[in-house]
């Protein structure tokens, strides 16, 4: 009988002493439920607590407070060698004094699996990571990508309940990393094991994960699917960390059903958008506008006209442009130092310079209400 979740974090706190004699909350009241068979990513900048969270699951650290539950069983202070999880280390941590075969067989030997079965399973695992026949080599004789695969085979051969991966692709070059991302995802679907994946690369997390927890300063700010965290970030940090965006600051003026009207400080005007989270009138908020979710029209100098009340309009002047093929990246000045990035898709094929914006053009920025996200400045 399987438990409800593969891994649960119940209000986990992990405090480390700092060298200066102080304390730091590496993980700060985090609660997460990770489903069986899920590809779950812990995403955040360095020092956000994602690796510590992973180490708490592996058993290399014990929580100061709260419970780590794996497959329905409270872990308490169980050491790593008694936990049904295996780890792929960032540095691979391969045993250099053993052959590839011995490395992969190590975990099975510890379980006292019979010799013939070890042989069979190790060879299967090496085939699975596409390195058959490499068993006799030493890890040092393999490339970085191959070592990565050995580390993966060594952990997977144990058929763990949960596989923990600590930035496993961090040391690989970009091309290899992209390849391995797809392979890892395919492998995870093939073996059906829960993968918990630590990364600081948002693109990596977005491509591979079923769900992502965005972490900062020890807190899990938002947990959701790729679409959810990109399209509905719940605070300024998440919106900023995932993809690119523009921010305007202001205070809530009125809340009407799902629409929120905000008095923006600079430029001084009213903007309407979708409210995220519990907002109240008078609250300081951030407005996030993604550069690809707006479009520009030439400013003819007339007053803003928005008869159907569906979109915000801002005025600006082009200060820089960069043509990058699929779109043109335009930087606008909204007045009083506020800048905005806009990506104009080059939908029409033309050589006419008039068709593209150039520095100095006065433009009107059209942002539909549903593309304007109003969120708390800070949560947690």
């Amino acid at each position: 009988m399987k438990s409800e979740f593969a891994v649960e974090f119940h209000d986990i706190v992990k405090i480390f002493p700092t060298p200066e004699g102080g304390q730091v909350n590496a993980v700060d009241h985090v609660s997460i439920n990770i489903n069986h068979g899920e590809f779950f990513s812990l995403l955040g900048p360095s020092g956000c607590g994602k690796t510590t969270s992973l180490r708490l699951m592996a058993g290399f650290e014990w929580p100061t407070n709260g419970d780590v539950v794996i497959d329905g069983e409270k872990m308490g202070r169980k050491p790593p060698y008694l936990r049904p999880v295996n780890t792929v280390f960032q540095s691979y941590a391969l045993f250099q004094h053993m052959t590839v075969f011995q490395n992969v067989a190590f975990g099975l030997e510890m379980e006292k699996v019979p010799k013939e079965e070890i042989n069979r399973r190790v060879n299967e695992a090496l085939e699975m990571v596409k390195l058959p026949g490499m068993g006799k080599r030493k890890p040092k004789q393999l490339s970085g990508g191959q070592q990565q695969r050995i580390a993966l085979a060594r952990a997977l051969v144990k058929r763990p309940e949960v596989l923990l991966l600590d930035e496993p692709l961090g040391a690989l070059d970009l091309k290899l990393r992209k390849e391995m991302q797809l392979e890892l995802k395919a492998l995870q679907e093939q073996v059906g094991i829960t993968f918990i994946y630590v990364t600081h690369d948002q693109e990596e997390a977005l491509t591979m994960s079923n769900r992502i927890a965005v972490m900062n300063r020890g807190k899990a700010l938002q947990i959701g699917s790729s679409v959810e965290i990109y399209e509905r970030p719940n605070c300024r940090f998440v919106a900023d960390f995932i993809g690119e965006t523009n921010f305007l600051s202001g205070t809530v003026k009125a809340i009407e059903k799902d629409r929120v009207r905000v008095e923006v400080t600079s430029p001084r005007q009213e903007i309407t958008g979708i409210g995220i989270g519990n907002l109240s009138v008078g609250q300081a908020v951030a407005i996030s506008i993604r550069p690809e979710k707006v479009h520009l029209v030439d400013d003819d100098g007339s007053e803003a006209m928005d008869q159907n009340k569906k979109e915000n309009q801002l005025k600006g002047r082009v200060t820089a442009t960069a043509y990058i093929g699929s779109d043109t990246r335009v930087v606008l000045e909204l007045g009083t130092g506020v800048r905005m990035k806009v990506w104009e898709q080059n939908a029409i094929s033309t050589l006419d310079p008039e068709a593209y914006y150039s520095v100095g053009d006065a433009v009107r920025i059209i942002v539909p209400f549903e593309n304007t996200l109003v969120m708390p400045e800070d949560i947690g």
């Binding site: 592996a58 058993g59 290399f60 050491p79 780890t87 045993f95 060594r154 144990k158």
Partner: protein
């Protein structure tokens, strides 16, 4: 005519030296010549002198006579010397093994001490070297002699009743030797152990190895280079040691080192002393080579 010949020979000489300069082998030899000169003066030359001396004979008054003599070597096959040689081998091996057994936990502890304390601890290990070696061995006389520091302590703790009479016994020699060579085992072992990344032990634990198994399968094999270095640094010099047996062993414990020293300083039989040195060197070399092969020295160094 003469001048033409001269210029010809100069030209030839010049071209020869140029070809020498351009030849990669001579170039390489030239570049390493400082090291070669050093090795020649301090290692090859003394060795040739000793080897040459070992085939000469002793004059009536202890001078060296230039007369070929092989008996220096045949005399060594006397069971008396054979016994001493075997005993020395035993003491050398014993010293090495005890140093490894005692030194390993110490090195392990050092390597895992907090970084702040580590340099202090290392300093403490090296501190004895600030005092002359002979003085330190004399200090052991005070500790080991009947009714000395050790005896008093043990009797005060009611562990022993009578004096142990340790001084001037093979045990005293072993204690002195282990004391002397312990740092030479601890330091290379420490270097080896300290290099082992913690993530490797975490990986072992992650894969299901309890701490003692992780130690046997990961830490121990990865510290082999340190063990080999420590063994060589201990075993080779301990085979030729004569100060410790002299001071702590009295006349009862004689090692091959004492025999050699006596030939040079007391018996004034330099050729025989040289022959004994050559045999000792040969034995040590064979032993060390065999040992390093067995322990997979070359392969481990690659790691």
């Amino acid at each position: 005519m003469i001048s033409e010949q001269a210029s010809e020979s100069i030209k030839r000489k010049f071209s020869l030296s140029r070809s020498l300069r351009e030849n990669p082998i001579t170039q390489g030899l030239f570049l390493i010549s400082p090291a070669n000169i050093y090795l020649f003066i301090f290692i090859v030359l003394p060795l040739i002198l000793v080897a040459g001396l070992s085939f000469l004979s002793r004059g009536t008054y202890g001078q060296v006579e230039f007369r070929f003599d092989i008996t220096n070597y045949t005399r060594l096959f006397d069971p008396l010397y054979g016994k001493i040689l075997l005993f020395s081998l035993g003491v050398g091996l014993g010293t090495t093994v005890i140093c490894l057994v005692v030194g390993y936990p110490l090195a392990y502890f050092l390597a895992h001490a907090p970084a702040k304390q580590r340099s202090l601890l290392l300093f403490l290990i090296l501190l004895p070297f600030w005092t002359n070696f002979i003085i330190r061995i004399f200090a052991w006389m005070i500790i080991l002699r009947s009714g000395g520091v050790l005896d008093s302590l043990l009797q005060w703790l009611h562990i022993t009743q009578a004096p142990l009479n340790l001084l001037y016994s093979p045990t005293a020699v072993m204690i002195g030797m282990v004391y002397e060579y312990l740092p030479f085992v601890v330091l290379p072992l420490y270097t080896s152990l300290e290099k082992i990344e913690n993530s490797l032990l975490e990986a072992a634990s992650d894969l299901g190895a309890p701490p003692w198994k992780a130690f046997l399968r990961v830490t121990l094999p990865l510290s082999v280079p340190g063990m080999i270095a420590g063994t060589i640094l201990t075993f080779i010099p301990s085979m030729g040691m004569f100060v410790v047996p002299d001071i702590l062993g009295g006349a009862k414990t004689i090692l091959i080192g004492n025999v050699i020293r006596n030939q040079f300083l007391t018996a004034r039989d330099w050729p025989f002393g040289s022959a004994a040195s050559m045999i000792l060197m040969l034995l040590t070399m064979i032993f060390t080579l065999y040992y390093t092969r067995k322990a997979g020295f070359g392969e481990e160094l690659l790691v």
